[in-house]
Amino acid sequence: MDKVYPSLDDAIADIPDGASIAIGGFFTAGTPVQLIQALARKGAKNLTVMCQSMGPGNEDITPLVVQGQIRKAICNYPFYRSATRGADSPFEKAVRAGQVELEVYPMGTFIEKLRAAGAGLAAFYTPTGVGTVAERGKEKRKFNGREYLLEVAIKPDYAFVYAWRGDRTGNLTCRKTARNYNPDMAAAARITIAAVEGLVEAGELDPDKIHIPGIYVQRVVQVDRPNYIPSID
């Protein structure tokens, strides 16, 4: 199974208007920026995106907002910490203007909901958020005297992930904290598109050090290592 696509644009060509897309990466680390840029070039509209941040440390997502491609964002850290910087942020403006719907989950709940989808589970009970606004509209239930919230799985149509090394069959190895959301998003999505820094032949990766098994990855594209300067103020 050779899953390599010749270009970023080919790899995302079939993404329709209205698609939902999980985007890996935690601030600067492990974000598939080139795939996001390709999506901005393509211009698909009415999208639902699921990712950690809608701006801070992930400015490459801003063109999608400015071009009005995003209908809904599901994330856990949407805004700049600085109110001043936030006031200038296209995403914050779009949220205030009601142009983008925003759904926020605690970080652990957010990724566990995606993991549940990939693992074929319908829902789970978590203690996180009990007694907070995260309870709203959710079933609360006691197990062994402690309260938990019911959280249902979220299954995206696509996932964009990033890896340090990948082989042609889709096996991926991540590097340091750039692993973060990428494995569980890859498993959750119907179609996972991986941007890899180093493309190798099957058998070249250490089989005990593959963080994303190839079965979860449908398309692989080689990219240059993006250059970041970590900052989220």
Partner: protein
């Protein structure tokens, strides 16, 4: 109208962090939140304390020096950090499994408000003008619920002098009844079943002065003393 401001001078942010570092026991796993909590890491070098970063790292080392920055190696505050002997990496999902699973001996978190019952409000400042259900939750709710002990590190009042230790949180809470210890620029306060117990005060301050900037009635510890650093 006179401009409101903080009434008392107390510890610097760095010394709040030091006071918390002294509270941590050796042989523990600790997660440090954004803000003052992050500064705690400056005071534990050489100690047998393992720092976890929500992004998926154990044994997080000191901040990376200029020129040593690796964009694939950051903490949950997006700061470039370094490796230590014994560092290991894992997914974010595993990281929060670990946090909810009770493996953090201590989480040190910042706060906008703390109630006398130990409720923590830290993730959402209504002054930003968003609806109350959206904001930067990040990993704070998971940490507040999952850690065996939650220590709050914050300034005792806002810059405007508004009280942050309150009877009931007005801001959206992060978790209910989880805070065990509050360390501020002015005081060290235990959250107990009986109420808030004032254990230590900043040099030069009286318990009455601390009470004057604290909404709930403080119980004065029989062992009350100056903050030890």
């Amino acid at each position: 109208m006179a401009e409101k401001r903080r009434q008392f001078d107390g510890l610097s942010r760095e010394l709040i962090a030091l006071r918390i570092a002294n509270e941590l026991e050796d042989g523990t796993y600790v997660n440090l939140g954004i803000g003052i909590p992050t500064l705690v890491s400056n005071w534990i070098e050489g100690r047998d304390i393992v720092l976890q970063a929500e992004i998926g790292m154990l044994n997080t080392g000191p901040l990376a020096a200029q020129g040593q920055v690796d964009q694939d190696l950051i903490n949950a505050s997006c700061q470039p950090v370094t490796e230590m002997p014994g560092t290991c990496y894992f997914s974010d999902c595993e990281s929060f499994a670990m946090i909810r699973g009770g493996y953090m001996d201590v989480a040190v978190l910042g706060a906008l408000q703390v109630s006398e019952k130990g409720d923590l409000a830290g993730w959402n400042n209504p002054e930003r003008g968003f609806p109350e259900h959206i904001g930067n939750i990040g990993g704070s709710m998971d940490l507040a619920v999952g850690a065996r002990k939650v220590i709050v590190a914050m300034e005792h009042t806002t810059r405007n002098g508004d009280l942050k230790i309150v009877k009931k949180c007005a801001y959206p809470v992060t978790a209910v009844g989880v805070v065990k210890l509050i360390v501020t620029d002015l005081a060290v306060i235990d959250v107990t079943d009986k109420g808030l117990v004032l254990r230590e005060v900043a040099p030069g301050l009286t318990p009455e002065e601390v009470q004057s900037v604290t909404e709930p009635k403080l119980i004065i510890s029989p062992d009350l003393r100056e903050i030890r650093l």
